[in-house]
Amino acid sequence: MLRKLTPYLFVAPLMVFIALFTYIPIFASLNLSFREWNFLSPDMPFVGFRNYEQLLASRDLWNSLWVTTLFAVLSVPLRLGLALVIAAYLVRETVHVRLLRGALFLPSVTSTVSIAVVFSWVFSTDYGMVNAILGTFGLGKVQWLQNPHLALWVLIFVNTWKQIGYDIVIYIAGLQAIPRELYDAAAVDGGKRLHVFRRITMPLVMPTTYFLLVISVIEAFQVFTIVNVMTHGGPAGATDMLVNLLYEIGFVLFDIGRGSALAVLLFILLVGLAILKSRIIGRKVHYEA
């Protein structure tokens, strides 16, 4: 009897916490999204789809959806493209390559708040590093974080700077798994470097690209810290990404119903994206024999 129970006892602690803080909250969010509640009033009346209707009719939601999509569409290919090219160079095992890899990887384990604060200074108008450098070339000061057309690009830059080391490390591992003989054969055939990169490296590293694509899109749709520290979603909503909007509705306005409805919509969107990606890209992934 006890023997049969053993595995359950081993998994129980993890399962209890997963259930309490991951799975039950999904249903709780769904339930709350059909209610009106401000966290203080004693009752929370059922209001049907009203929270969803209000959300879908609000400009804030569509703005956030647009800004977040833009952020993802611009930053993910930039990250992965740059990372693959850099990884193709850094795949060699020499001391200086190791050091450079370490330097590039460092930001991905560093505090996001610290990075956001440091880059708030880098891009600040009057005393920032970027404007100081521009100044030495005789160029005028740019209001990076106060200009609605530039602020999102700054966030994309900071996010890329922080995350690219992780992408590179993963790509290097993927590249190391490609059999050497393929490159040797290509060299015998007189393949040009760019050609080899496109015909051998890129297709064979596809499983890694797929993995990175999935996690970086999900990550991009959940960006919050750099927004909260650097721009608060401004100027004029130009960087008001979805999780920032969720935070504002749920924890600044304390509109629990509408915040939950937004959480559910975002959840459906992300799970939908994950399924769609595995349908479309999953089939095109090349795995080595």
Partner: protein, 269 residues
């Protein structure tokens, strides 16, 4: 390893320093007086650190971060290892389902649980407490998944030999599986610690009392309240930022290889 080309090595060094220059400069700035900084002069002072630690309570925030990240790591790695062991070594009814549910947590965006977890902890009176910061972060599906894959690679004959000698399953876990999985457990523990150390949104919503701020919250607040009059006191902010970065930075330099190996093993397998 191939012999070094000194020119390439020099270029790599410059590229690395250039890439990290914003952070390096922020550390340098933390040793400047605010007057010297704004006047564009050179100075050296430890006063910013003294003020961050004393007046602005960063010693307390550092302690909070250590307590929270430490306990999350300890409990998280323990639970993940136990579950991984069961998933790897036992076939039991519902086991596949529970394993799938564990892996599926990797795809579930964490923001969905933000409001419900806040309400749950409010209901049981655990907001504004260490427990409130720690409990929602303990379960780590990735670590459980990763360790299960690793444990499956350990020969089962070792377990069986121990059972022959009359060992219990707990002894097998503790005496055989854990010592043989040490590199995997170490890299996962490190991964959990760093993730929790840098966690921002949960402590932001779960904590209002200043005495419970973690470094991340303390730093974000310090930057926002802008202690300089009119001009931001950047040297002070950078001292606080350096305090926030430093522990992980030192840990990283000590165990970089472990960490990178752990991360890539998880992705490529």
């Amino acid at each position: 390893m191939k012999p070094e080309n000194p020119i390439l090595a020099g270029l790599a060094l410059v590229a690395g320093l250039l890439f990290l220059s914003p952070v390096l400069y922020s550390i340098w700035m933390s040793f400047q007086t605010v007057d010297a900084y704004y006047a564009g002069e050179l100075g050296f002072t430890l006063d910013n650190y003294a003020r961050a630690v004393g007046q602005y309570n960063f010693a307390r925030y550092l302690l909070n971060s250590l307590i929270v990240s430490g306990l999350v790591t300890l409990l998280g790695i323990t639970f993940a290892t136990m579950a991984a062991y069961a998933f790897a070594r036992y076939s039991f009814r519902g086991g596949n389902f529970l394993f799938a549910a564990t892996v599926a947590t990797l795809m579930i965006p964490s923001h969905i649980s933000l409001i419900p977890n806040y309400l749950t902890l409010a209901k049981v009176g655990l907001l504004d407490s260490y427990a409130g910061l720690i409990l929602p972060a303990i379960s780590n599906g990735f670590a459980a998944f990763f360790l299960r894959q690793y444990i499956r690679g350990i020969p089962k004959a070792l377990d069986e030999a121990a059972y022959m000698d009359g060992a219990t399953s707990l002894q097998v876990l503790w005496r055989i599986i854990v010592p043989l999985s040490r590199p995997a457990i170490a890299s996962m523990a490190l991964y959990i610690f760093i993730t929790e150390w840098n966690n921002y949104i949960w402590p932001l919503v779960a904590v209002g009392k200043q005495d419970l701020y973690t470094l991340q919250i303390g730093l974000a607040r310090l930057y926002r309240i802008n202690p300089g009059e009119g001009l931001i006191d950047w040297p002070l902010v950078m001292a606080a930022s350096t305090i926030t970065i430093l522990p992980v930075l030192l840990g990283f330099l000590l165990v970089e290889r472990h960490l990178v190996r752990g991360i890539t093993m998880g992705a490529v397998k």
